[in-house]
């Protein structure tokens, strides 16, 4: 029955990261390893967040408390993997085939670890929902409406893209000691996460539209940080 819905939602949320993985990660084993390592660090942050939520009993029912600390933990662990990657650069140079691109272009490592964060966070936020979408039913009997699965997938996709962009901006911020970039990542992460709190009122457009605005903004910022510009974009199009 709603196996169709299951595949629709899975394609929507995980199609883009899958494409990115196929075209940009899969050809280099070192990138795959770094992707997995980054995912592991995101999981550690999730573990810490959940422990904190579990320990602070009186604040358990307040979603916002867990949310803010979860964002802080994620960014702390992003910093930790940044530090580790920068330390490991010399070692990586020895094992990778094309050290030139991987190490010289610092944004690649940033992009790979960002995508690692993105994929695992996307998986964790959507898998439970997808598992329930396989059955014959849809939302709307007791609460919500039938757009629930579609909007959940769209939100997940949104966070997958954001995590990738944040990785690029954040790493560059520390490389160039640019406080604005680090601050932007923190603030936009908090803002995007808090927007999802609106979902409990079942007005999905209220969270989705601002979220995608943030995605576009962050995407452009990351594009600029990674060395892109309007001119390079024009060149890219015109070279066709």
């Amino acid at each position: 029955m709603t196996v169709t819905e299951f595949f629709g939602c899975a394609f929507l949320a995980f199609g883009p990261p899958f494409a990115m993985f196929i075209f940009t990660i899969a050809q280099d084993p070192v990138r795959v390893i770094i992707l997995i390592a980054a995912s592991f660090f995101w999981l550690l942050s999730l573990l810490l967040s959940s422990l904190l939520w579990f320990a602070v009993v009186p604040l358990r029912q307040y979603l916002i408390f867990g949310l803010i600390f979860s964002v802080i933990f994620q960014e702390v662990f992003r910093y930790i993997i940044y530090k580790i990657l920068r330390k490991a650069e010399n070692g990586l140079k020895k094992i990778t085939d094309d050290s030139a691109t991987l190490i010289d272009n610092k944004h690649i490592l940033a992009y790979v670890s960002g995508l690692g964060f993105a994929i695992i966070s996307g998986a964790f936020s959507l898998v439970n929902i997808l598992a329930d979408a396989v059955g014959p039913a849809t939302m709307g009997l007791k609460a919500g409406n039938e757009m629930f699965f579609l909007t959940s997938s769209a939100t997940t996709l949104c966070f997958i893209l954001l995590h990738t962009f944040w990785g690029v901006i954040f790493f560059n911020g520390f490389d160039t000691k640019n406080k604005l970039q680090i601050g932007y990542v923190l603030v936009s992460h908090l803002l995007a996460s808090c927007l999802t709190l609106l979902n409990r009122y079942h007005v999905y457009s209220a969270s989705l539209i601002p979220l995608y605005a943030i995605v576009v903004l962050t995407g452009l910022y990351a594009f600029k940080v990674a060395g892109g510009s309007y001119n390079s974009f024009k060149n890219c199009i015109s070279l066709k």
Binding site: M139, L141, E146, G227, C236
Partner: protein, 677 residues
Amino acid sequence: MDHIKLIIILLYACLSIITGNGDRIKDMMFDGIDSSVPCYRRLNATHQIGCSSKRGGSTGVIHFCETIDDLQFILNSGTAGPYIPVLSTKIFSPDIVHNLSYSDKVSGLIVYTNEPVNFFSHDEKCPNNRFSVDGTCKNNGWNPWGTGLLYVDIPFPLFYVENENDTQKIKECFQTFNNFSFDTQKDRSLCSLELESFMFATTNTPTCQRRSNIVTNMNPVKLCDPLGDYNTWASLFPLVEGSDPNTKPINDFEYIIIAARSDTTSLFDKTTGAENPITSMVTLLSTAKLLKEMVGKWNNKIKKNILFILFTGETYDYIGSQRFLYDMELGLFPVDLPKNNTFLPIIYPENISLFIEISQLSYGKDVYVHYLEDNQKTVATFFNIMNSSTDSLFLHLVPNSLPPSSLHTFIRGNNSIQGMVITNHESEYINHYYNSFYDTSENIQYKYQNGSSIPNDSIQGNIGNIVTVLANSLYEEIIGTKYNGTATANLEMIDELFHCYLEDPSCKVHKAIRKVGMGGNILNLYIGVDIQDNILTDLIALTLAWFTGDLIEESGPNCTNIGKSHVFKYYNMSSNMDDLENKSCYRCTLNHTLAISPAFVIPDYDWSSNKYSSWSESAWRTIGVRIFLKPSPAHERSTIAIGSMIMVLAFVLTYFIKSRSNVLFPPEVFNDPPVNC
């Protein structure tokens, strides 16, 4: 020590985490209809009957039908099938089931109660006809309201929803999502039901038994189980003389059997069975109690004994009585011992002089005594004794007539046994709800009096009269003289027994026989499968033991069977149901015999011979009804379209960016400062 403490603390921490239960999205999507009871699949030697869902459950859109026209409407012009119609018992009929069987627009059926119906019986017009004496079912049959639906193979799942709140829940969901603009139904989300009652067994019992016994792996799957339970019996006088452990069998008894059935059935997994069989059971138990009070202790002048037997599985082609007679003819009753052993007398059919079966009874002074042949002197004599010992009842003798009863089995046996059936009907059942869940206390007009005085013109009073007549006549039959004591039926006990079986299993009688904590649900009188114990059988057995047992001493730890000859059973029970704490030790003659059809016992039994009952019940894993919202096909299509489009777009875009990344992100040109040489 510190390490151990730490480990313990960690363990506790882990345990406390494990006990956490997450909320699932599923909980928001499904809503269980917990009070639903299914219809099962059963099999005999040639057919399968009952219902089954698809594997994993059948789903369909709810259609709440107030009238037959509502049902016809979706059959003719429903657009969003398959549907699951929800019908009241008032309009539910075999014709509807028959029509729906041929419709691909229906994937299941729900039945609920909203108002009383005049008749509701899904047994056949001639119940158990294939295993009865030929020609005993005439004209309209014994059960003229019977539809026979119980014996139909229904190709879709069928559930009965007991609770009114659940019915309301289904109705509200139907009103909110389904009950408007039927033409566009298929374009929107619809309230639907999932009925899960997948039955493993198919075709017939021999097939299913063969498939269950295929040794293909170490863990064979059981597809069906024979219907089975235990017959309960007790004798008025012990079958032995002397006291434990120096007992000697009494071999020259002539036996009278007082029998009743203790099971009923229903199309759904819910039975009530007030008139059939509870009235018979209560009459039998009360007769046993009264007779025990009348006769006192045995002396060697008494040459007649009485066996009180409750047969189970009688609804399904006389399983209990068939097995009982089979055991008896082989010399296996009461135990599998040689004929002249030193423990117990072996009882054969020829030792039985009279068989009296108590069938359905009800409120009303007319009592009919059915028997089959004209020249049965014993029956006629006993009837005369009965007739002479009553002025409160109108006894009618009905010759050449025998309603469905265990007696059929004994008449069809090797030695035809003389017998009679005592009932409330002459040629057809008074009971309009034979073998259905409408056979409730209202059907027999029973009201619990709870200790206050019981009017003589109530069902309790009427049963009391019958019990008194029966006990007096039996006394005269076995002792040889008229009873001149004052003992009469204990109406308060009859009242309590009805209360136990119809309303509250945690009643005083069950507390007195030391079975407590039964909960409030009335007991299911369906025989069940052989591998599962039936609580009711134990309860009736202990009650019969209490009524026929001898009080031998103060209760105590010695009141057990340990170290004794197993001729008797010993139980600690209250001496009186109004004084539960005052316990005594009872020595009882009670025992069980297995009630599984001989067909499952005889090696290489020929199933086509149709000699014995062959009913088995299919195995299943999950049973349940859930309500949920089915997404519209349009919504499903748009979801997959959006998903696929985004994915394809992402692939194209990523490939494009990747292939032109050197242009898009030009490498940084380092403006090295001039080198100082």
